[in-house]
Amino acid sequence: MTARTTRADAPTMDTDPFGPDVLEDPIPFHTALRDAGELVYLSRYDVYGLGRYAHVHAALSDWQSFESGAGVGLSNFRREKPWRPPSLLLEADPPQHDAPRWALEEILSARSLRALEQQWTATAEQLVDEVLARDEPIDAVRDLAAVFPLRVFPDAVGLCADGRENLLPYGDHLFNAFGPHNELVERGLSQIGQVSAWVNSQCARDRLAPDGFGARIWEAADRGDITHEQAPLIVRSLLSAGVDTTVNGLAAILHALATSPSQWQRLRADPGLSRIAFDEAVRLESPVQTFFRTATRDVRVADVTIPEGTKILMFLGAANRDPRHWKDPDRFDLSRNPSGHVGFGMGIHQCAGQHVARLEAAALVTALAQRVRTLELAGAPRRHHNNTLRAWASLPIAITPS
């Protein structure tokens, strides 16, 4: 994992950032990447990598130089056919990106979500009560993180009850597919046809309940803000990016709380800290670890010219723990202000669902803080490997009621 200089003029690393060792624990790789230089050549995939906070933040903001339309995974849409029709949001640039983004931003704005707050809080309290009533150790992934988003989000979108079990495998494969065609992608291929067909079919107008996010997207098309052809793909964006990410975001904060007793006590004393706590967990864990961009022209970064059309891998997780920007970055600390982390991205592509994620997390974490006295690890947690997501497969915890 040592860096050396090559003809690429940038420090070079040959580690596979999508290999099982890095996916199991990316921290040592991230440290080496940041220390190797501002811009690092990743020889394994012939791409450049950015790991320092300042550089990741700058590249995410600079859509003029670093485009998304050639795909935000390793695959370069300028040369390769995407595995699914590209996203109108994630995999698009201005000006085409404008209208879909604007429409979705309105629907998912913090103000339009307020109507859901009371109901989501009640659902969270009910879930916590159910879990507390069990006599056995619980798994914070299986019983909380993977349950709560699926109780509130699909209803908010307006999905029908049948087939929701397809949402998690779809997201898992989608986020794997941003990486190289490795074993993780291979494993998803057998069922992805069927899963995708279900997801795509749910985006049609007649499948979506009135008043949900999905119906509102179609109403935006009726107003001419987007086209009717765009509407189903924008609904698909909700189903793609809105489930696995929040499951892993919730798992991240549950793990952080279960392993930081002092911070758990602090949160119990002041449940109003749950918003800060969630963003601090997103900073620390970075549920979305990486996204690619593509140079729109020859771009100079740190005295190196990235040739036009070259992919650049941005390590959000490395940036969020860069000691050049964060004090004591590996600590989960509720007195820290995590503002400015790049866990939701930055710039025009910043997560359109961030307020949904924060509302889900605030509901669940507040309910826990109010109803649970102790929350501790009760066994060895186990990682779930995904090319893009930092995820837990299992997080055994023990909880006692207040």
Binding site: Q64, I276, N337, S339, G340, I348
Partner: protein
């Protein structure tokens, strides 16, 4: 900071504005406007008419308002390259939405939001037409640059042609055309009347309603109180509310620090905020039940925030 001031037509100057530190300015899309905060507590809104691919500069064009309250006169007569001024936004109530074709109708200085729209329609190879009216040919800004577009542009100075023939222009447009109009109120009303039978969302107007009483924008510091009975934090000129709160040990979650992402929205219990974000609608600004503390400030001596 004003980098350049350029005469564009009779009584029209354009300003090229940059961040004094050379940083990126907040992103925008065609139809967006910014607030210019001028001395004497005047706030004026101007459409961005430059190139969004240039993240370092904004361009606005300003007509000298003969009967205005002094905002445009200040810009014409006093403002010089090198001068600094505060801005708010950008905000956008005039989004360019997808269409099979566009009809742009400009009256006078109303051409400004349409300039980047035209550039974008051209980029996307979507057919468009511009009907551009003004008092006289020499009063019509950007006419030279627009005339490169051949017969897509119909320039109709009033002293040569009379009022714009809207019926004729609209009749030539199929139902799917989206019509964007910016200009003086009588023009907007005339276009609205002509387009009454068009499908919903197919006519989009930009109307800057001047506020009757511009709020007294402060150049001095102010106070922020944390909750009805909470401690008071002093906000110095040049320091954001967010930074002042953080320095006083109150962490408010934020992200973009440009008034665009919405993360730092904070409830306002009392006082009158000076909104500078890109998110609140005009109606929400008037209600002022919340503010974005990363960019917005205060008109009153003290704001009481729900913290």
């Amino acid at each position: 900071m004003v980098e350049e001031k350029t005469r564009r037509a009779d009584d029209v100057v354009s300003l090229r504005l940059v961040d004094p530190g050379g940083h990126r300015l907040p992103d925008w899309a065609p139809g967006a406007h910014i607030d210019l905060l001028l001395p004497g507590g005047l706030t004026r809104q101007y459409s961005l008419c430059g190139d969004r691919w240039d993240p370092l500069a904004y361009e606005v064009a300003v007509l000298r308002e003969r009967h205005g309250r002094g905002g445009s006169a200040y810009i014409h007569d006093r403002l010089q390259p090198g001068d600094r001024l505060d801005i708010g936004g950008p905000r956008n109530n005039f989004h360019l939405v997808p269409a099979d074709r566009y009809l742009f109708i400009a009256g006078g200085i109303g051409i400004t939001p349409l300039i980047p729209m035209i550039a974008q329609a051209s980029l996307l190879r979507i057919p468009w037409m511009l009907l551009y009216g003004g008092r006289t040919r020499t009063s019509m800004a950007y006419l030279d640059a627009l005339s490169d577009n051949g017969d897509k542009v119909t320039a109709r100075p009033q002293d040569e042609f009379g009022l714009l023939e809207l019926d004729e222009a609209l009749a030539a447009q199929p139902v799917g055309t989206k019509i964007y109009c910016c200009g003086p109120e009588p023009l907007l009303q005339a276009v609205q009347a002509c387009a009454a039978d068009r499908p919903v969302g197919h006519l989009r107007l930009e109307r800057f309603v001047p506020k009757d009483q511009p709020p007294p924008l402060r150049t001095t510091g102010f106070e922020v109180q944390l909750g009805a009975d909470g401690p008071v934090v002093r906000v110095a000129p040049g320091c954001s509310v967010l930074d002042a709160l953080e320095a006083a040990g109150t962490n408010v979650l934020s992200s973009c620090r440009q008034g665009t992402c919405g993360t730092c929205e904070t409830g306002v219990l009392a006082g009158e905020p000076d909104h500078r974000d890109s998110l609140l609608t005009d109606e929400e600004r008037a209600r002022s039940t919340s503010m974005f503390v990363c960019v917005s400030r205060s008109c009153s001596d003290r704001l009481v925030l729900d913290l």
